[in-house]
């Protein structure tokens, strides 16, 4: 049984909303900001794709947001944009589920909590930071702000989180457990992650992320939220239908798709897996220069594929590459194409999702 995408909301280094994500995709990427990281008296500028949530207040009052952290704000903005994109349907609060996928959770708030402990002592630990650092806080904030009382789940499986979430949403919808599911994929950047990046890849910090140069290390950390409102198949869908979701360990299973959007995000080690497991001559694209490298990046790939389908035409330009794949020219018609979103992780794991017309 297939499920359909009714609405999509996105926020990330490209800005927010379909128009800004597609603009970044059509331009072949967008320019990152920089974050300053200091250690042992030295400072280094690290490129990063940061998300802004300023216009969340178009949807939620400042008062309601006063204790809501950055991760939850991204999720909330994405959710409101998804609902707006779907035409603000009347949701049955008890028949609408929420599934949030996050690779690392609210890391910024976790370390803010540790600041309160390490800075002021155990007895001065911040209760607000603690309760917001709990991994399911973003899902809870969605539930509370949107007044949704159906089942509510948070998953954390690093790069498999996105596929795990869509797989679960499909089961809920197919079993009739709920009528709609808000699937939210969100990850944030914080200085500790920047430090980790610097330690692991410090000598190879790029200015531009080039995901189809698989022999290069060009990953730039990113953050953002991609939120999808899903429902059971009811016929024609502007964004298409999710026909297949699969994730696991080992070799990528074989699949049929006209276009494969790989989750290559500039990491050399993972990049090799795509080269090893996808046949030469396939039509392949990689869109991560539009949003950066983050565990839930595949959700942005799905968003780009869906937004492109809705416009009728493929968005990405031909990219610099060192592969034997073909690339679809921008403007190619997409109405009848099956698109596969594929992610190969560095723990021998994979994720596969197929979007059909």
């Amino acid at each position: 049984m297939t499920i359909m995408i009714d609405g999509i909301g996105v926020v990330g280094g490209f800005g927010s909303g379909a128009k800004e994500l597609l603009a970044a995709a059509q331009a072949g990427g967008c320019a990152p900001e920089t974050a300053s990281l200091s250690a042992e008296g030295t400072s280094q500028e690290v490129p990063v794709y940061r998300a802004r949530t300023d216009h969340l207040t178009d949807f939620v009052s400042k008062r309601a947001l006063r204790r809501v952290d950055h991760l939850s704000r991204m999720a909330l903005l994405g959710a409101h944009l998804a609902l707006e994109d779907a035409g603000n349907p009347a949701l049955d609060p008890q028949r609408t589920g929420i599934i949030v996928a996050s690779g690392y959770g609210a890391t910024g708030t976790t370390f803010a909590f540790l600041d309160s402990v390490l800075g002021d002592g155990d007895a001065c630990a911040s209760p607000t930071h603690f309760s917001s650092s709990v991994h399911n806080a973003a899902a809870a904030n969605l539930s509370i702000q949107l007044k949704l009382e159906g089942p509510c789940l948070t998953l954390s499986q690093f790069e498999q989180s996105v596929f795990s979430a869509f797989s679960e949403a499909r089961i809920w919808l197919c079993e009739g457990r709920v009528d709609r599911v808000l699937v939210g994929c969100v990850d944030e950047f914080c200085p500790v992650l920047g430090y980790c990046w610097q330690r692991y890849f410090g000598s190879e910090l790029p200015e531009v992320q080039q995901p189809l140069r698989l022999n290069s290390q060009s990953a730039i950390p990113g953050e953002g939220a991609a939120i999808f409102l899903l429902s059971r198949d009811q016929g024609q869908a502007a964004y298409g239908h999710i026909a297949h979701v699969e994730y696991g360990r080992g070799i990528l299973p074989s699949f049929n798709a006209d276009l494969t959007l790989i989750g290559a995000d500039g990491h050399r080690v993972c990049g090799q897996r795509y080269r090893d497991e996808l046949a030469p001559g396939m039509w392949v694209a990689a869109a991560s220069a539009s949003y950066g490298s983050l565990p839930v990046g595949s959700a942005f790939d799905l968003a780009i594929a869906a937004f492109s389908r809705k416009t009728g035409f493929w968005s990405l330009p031909i990219q610099a590459n060192d592969t034997a794949w073909d690339q679809m020219r921008p403007g190619a018609e997409m109405a009848d194409l099956n698109v596969a979103c594929v992610k190969c992780g560095n723990d021998n794991d994979y994720g596969l999702l197929i979007l059909e017309p």
Partner: protein
């Protein structure tokens, strides 16, 4: 409406402060033993000591290995459950086994020593981060035991373990795999100790769920894992069926980040959904294993809901024996519920001695024989999650 496909429970695994192994835990519970102590896994500077329920060092190693402690706990419980289900290494190769494991600490990047050095402007080594990256609990169990089905780590706070069971049953119904290892694992750590203390819901004394003088919870650690498979397939395998997972319900309060909705609306709906899916009435129930943390808010809400929806059904909390094991709680308490159902007796709700006049009902105060073909385990969580699982005796559901 979810199609009812009988899901059998064929294996149990558990370790916590009450014991290492299911039988060891049950012995402690029925003897009415509990061992809250000052924390020894870590030190704190609180002026007051909040007792915790740790697994003794003699029972489970504490040396820092390549994996986080939470993953090691989950792995130990998973091994016991698979052995109980007769799934040795050879037989595991013939079936697709999925792993779904609930946790809170196990997915948190919160190593204090690493962060302290970073905060001080140093360049800490990446050992702690490497360890964290290697230690996604469900991935660890799948990798170490060479299991080839889907894996999922649930981070739904205190209802994670119960949610894992319901989600796992869904995997079986949809054919994602043949067998599911489902449950939860969580270790004690300074972050949760300091966090719960900051929220002022930890008790300076051993906890007393539902008691008039209850003052909060004690934290604990451990893991509880169950093997689930389609009843038909389990029978073909010739393995003993320990119970059936008859129903699961989950609903959100949409109320507050840490406090339950005072009217218990989410718990009520989760209970109704689970019982409807199970096809049982209140009169079929032998007992309820409540969430029963010992906090003012949780116990008040639960007591009212149990009184309204399941009047006269015996209930208890086992958190006096185990502590609140967070993401592991639902898994550990599911193991206990199945074992109590098999035995036909539930242990006393330790710590309870005085009825709270604001609570309309009270737990059992001594080991109590129970009759009935089914039992419930329920979990309430931060974020307003409510999850309920209904288990059935095998002879009554075959």
């Amino acid at each position: 409406m979810t199609t009812r496909v009988p899901v059998a429970i064929t294996g149990l695994g558990c370790l916590c402060a009450a014991g290492v192994g299911v039988d060891d835990c049950l012995d402690s519970l029925y003897r009415g033993e509990r061992r809250p102590t000052a924390p020894t896994l870590f030190s704190t500077s609180h002026p007051v000591t909040y007792p915790v329920l740790e697994i003794p060092e003699t029972d489970f190693p504490r040396e820092e290995g390549p994996l986080l402690r939470t993953s090691e706990l989950g792995l130990a419980a998973a091994r016991e459950a698979l052995a109980d289900a007769g799934l040795d290494e050879t037989s595991r190769e013939k079936v697709r086994i999925g792993v779904i494991l609930g946790t809170t600490v196990g997915s948190a990047m919160n190593n204090e020593a690493f962060y302290q050095r970073f905060r001080d402007g140093e360049r800490p080594e990446m050992t702690a981060i490497d360890r964290f990256r290697r230690s996604n609990p469900a991935a660890v169990v799948a990798r170490e035991l060479r299991l080839n089905g889907p894996t999922q780590t649930l981070v739904n706070a205190c209802s994670s373990g119960t949610d894992a069971l319901g989600i796992g049953a869904g995997w079986l119904r949809s054919g994602l795999c043949d067998v599911v290892l489902a449950g939860g694992a969580d270790e004690l750590c300074r972050t949760t100790y300091n966090g719960f203390s900051a929220l002022m819901i930890t008790n300076e004394n051993p906890c007393s769920p539902f008691d008039r003088d209850r003052q909060g919870l004690n934290l604990g650690e451990g893991a509880g894992m169950l093997v689930l498979e389609k009843a038909e397939a389990a029978k073909k395998r010739g393995v003993r069926l320990r119970a059936q997972l008859l129903g699961y319900g989950a609903a959100a309060d949409a109320y507050h980040l840490t406090a339950p909705s005072p009217d218990g609306k989410g718990l009520r709906r989760a209970l109704c959904e689970a019982m409807e899916q199970a096809g049982i009435a209140a009169s079929d129930l032998a007992f309820v294993n409540a969430h029963g943390t010992g906090t003012k808010d949780n116990d008040k809400v639960e007591s009212q809901v149990l009184h309204d929806l399941l009047p006269g059904i015996p209930f208890h909390s086992t958190k006096g024996y185990t502590g609140h094991t967070l993401g592991a709680a639902g898994g550990i308490e599911a193991v206990f519920t199945v074992a109590f159902l098999e035995r036909g007796e539930i242990p006393a709700s330790i710590g309870f001695s005085s009825q709270d006049p604001d609570l309309p009902t009270a737990p059992v105060t001594e080991n109590t024989p129970v009759a009935g073909k089914a039992a419930i385990s329920e979990s309430l969580a931060f974020g307003g999650n409510n999850a309920v699982a209904v288990f059935g005796r095998v002879e009554d559901t075959a």
